[in-house]
Point group: C2
Chain length 230, copies 2
DNA sequence: AATGATGAGTGTATTTTTTACACTTTTTAC
DNA sequence: GTAAAAAGTGTAAAAAATACACTCATCATT
C-alpha cells in the first residue's frame, strides 16, 4: 500500500467494538431473555445483556456466536442482527460501538449449569427489570424484529423443542404476537404447511387425552420456502 | 474508574469504524443510487458507495448525516440503518467495521454541483456496475429493506418532489416493488389516505390534459399514523 | 363403575380485502 | 377536425381472514 493509502486509514480514530446478545427462550407462556447480574467491574451489580468485545480475527457474527456458545454451550444458534448502537455516552466507561444480535434457543437443550458461573438469569420480556446501558432498547428492538419475522419465516421453531404440540406452537405465536389466536383458524393454517408434520408420537404430559406431537421438517420447507402463520 | 475496570476495556483491540451511505433517488422511472468513482488511494479507479470514518465525537447516525450533507448539500435527510458489515477481508487495506445506512433524497433538491468535486455518479439499481468492497451487498440489502418498508410507511415521498402527480407516485411504487400496479386500485387506496391531498395545482408538463398535483401532509399523517399502499 | 374436569380435535358461514377489468375526458400537435 | 396521449373514474368476482361451538379421549375423584 502506498504511503497515501496508509494515511487514509491512520488519520482516523479507532474504537472498541462489542456484540450484545439478546438470547430469547420460551417457557411458562412467556418470551424470556437471558440477562447477567454483573459481579465484576465496571458496573458491578447492574443487569446487562450478555456481550463481549470484538477480537481481531473474527467477524461480528463470529463474535456473537462465541458469546452465545460461551453462555449456553450451544453452537450454530439461530441469530439475526438487530442493529448497531453508537451513542457517545452509551457506555460511560469508554466509547464502545455495539452491534446487537438476537438469538433463539430452546431452554431444554442448553447447558443451564453455566448460568451460575456468570450469574445468568432468565426474565420475562413483559416485565423487564432495570437494565444497564442501552440494553433495554436493544431488547425492545429485537422483540419487535422477531414479532415481524415470525409470521413469514419459520424461525419460531428454534424456541420450541424438536417435537411440540399444536397448543404449544399456538401459545408461542400468541405470546410473541401479543394477541389471542383462534384455535381452528390456527390449525387450519398449520395443516396447509406440509413441512409441519406429525411425528406419530403422542404427548401425554400436557393433557389427559394426549396431543399429537409435530416437528418442523427443514428439508421439506427448503423445497417450498413459503411460510405464513397468523 | 478502578484499575480493574480500565483493564476491562484496554485488554481489547480497537477498530476503524466507518459508515457507508446508500443514497437513493428516483428519476427516469428508475431507482438510482449515488456512487463515487474514486480518484484517490486506496482503490483508486474503483466505484464505491459514499462513506466516511466514524470520528470521536459523533454517533454513527451523525457520521452518516455528515457524509450525506457533504455529498448532497442537504441536511436532515431521511435515513435508515441497514446493517453492520464486518468480514475480515471486506476492506483489504485495513480492518474496518462498516455500518450501512440508506438515505432517500429528491434529485431536484440536492446540490448537483457537488458531484464533480468527488466524481459522483448516479446509476440505476437495476444494472449495477462492478462496485468495490461489499458495497453491492449493502445496496441489495438496502433495496430490499426499502421495498418492505414502502408499503407500510410513507417514506417514498422523500424520493419525490414536494408536489407530484398520482402517475409519478404509482411509477415510484411499481419500480421499487418491481411489479405493475392497477391504476384504479392504486388510486382508490390513495384516496382513502386523507394525508395525500390535492394541492389545487395542475401539472401541465407530463400530459396534454394536465394532472392534479398532490402533496404528502405530514401533520395529518401524524394524527392518523396508518399507511398502506399496495 | 359412574361422573366430572381438562385439553384435543374438527368445518362452515360471513365478512373483509384484494384483484380484475374498459371506457370517457381533456388537451395538444398535426 | 382529428388523431394521439395520459388523466380520471366504479363495479363485480375472487380470495383471504375471521367468527363461531360442539364432541372426543383420558384421568382423577367419588
Amino acid at each position: 500500500m502506498t504511503q497515501k493509502a496508509k494515511e487514509y486509514y491512520r488519520d482516523n480514530p479507532q474504537f472498541y467494538v462489542a456484540v450484545d446478545c439478546i438470547i430469547f427462550a420460551f417457557e411458562n407462556d412467556e418470551l424470556q431473555v437471558l440477562l447477567q447480574q454483573r459481579n465484576f467491574e465496571p458496573f458491578r451489580g447492574e443487569k446487562t445483556l450478555l456481550g463481549g468485545f470484538l477480537q481481531d480475527e473474527e467477524s461480528l457474527e463470529e463474535a456473537a456466536q462465541r458469546v452465545l456458545h460461551f453462555h449456553t454451550g450451544l453452537t450454530n444458534i439461530y441469530m439475526e442482527q438487530v442493529g448497531t448502537f453508537s451513542a457517545l455516552d452509551r457506555d460511560p466507561g469508554a466509547r464502545v460501538i455495539s452491534t446487537a444480535y438476537y438469538a433463539l434457543i430452546n431452554k431444554n437443550l442448553y447447558d443451564s449449569a453455566l448460568l451460575k458461573e456468570y450469574d445468568g438469569e432468565w426474565v420475562s420480556t413483559d416485565h423487564l427489570p432495570n437494565i444497564h446501558f442501552d440494553h433495554t432498547k436493544m431488547i425492545e428492538q429485537a422483540r419487535e424484529l422477531l414479532r415481524r419475522k415470525i409470521s413469514f419465516s419459520p424461525v419460531g421453531f428454534n424456541l420450541l423443542p424438536p417435537s411440540f404440540t399444536l397448543a404449544q406452537l399456538q401459545r408461542l405465536y400468541e405470546v410473541i404476537l401479543g394477541q389471542e389466536i383462534d384455535k381452528r383458524n390456527f390449525r387450519k393454517r398449520v395443516s396447509e404447511m406440509q413441512f409441519i408434520e406429525k411425528t406419530g408420537e403422542i404427548d401425554k404430559v400436557s393433557s389427559r387425552r394426549g396431543a399429537s406431537l409435530f416437528q418442523f421438517n427443514m428439508e421439506k420447507y427448503n423445497l417450498i420456502h413459503e411460510f405464513k402463520l397468523k
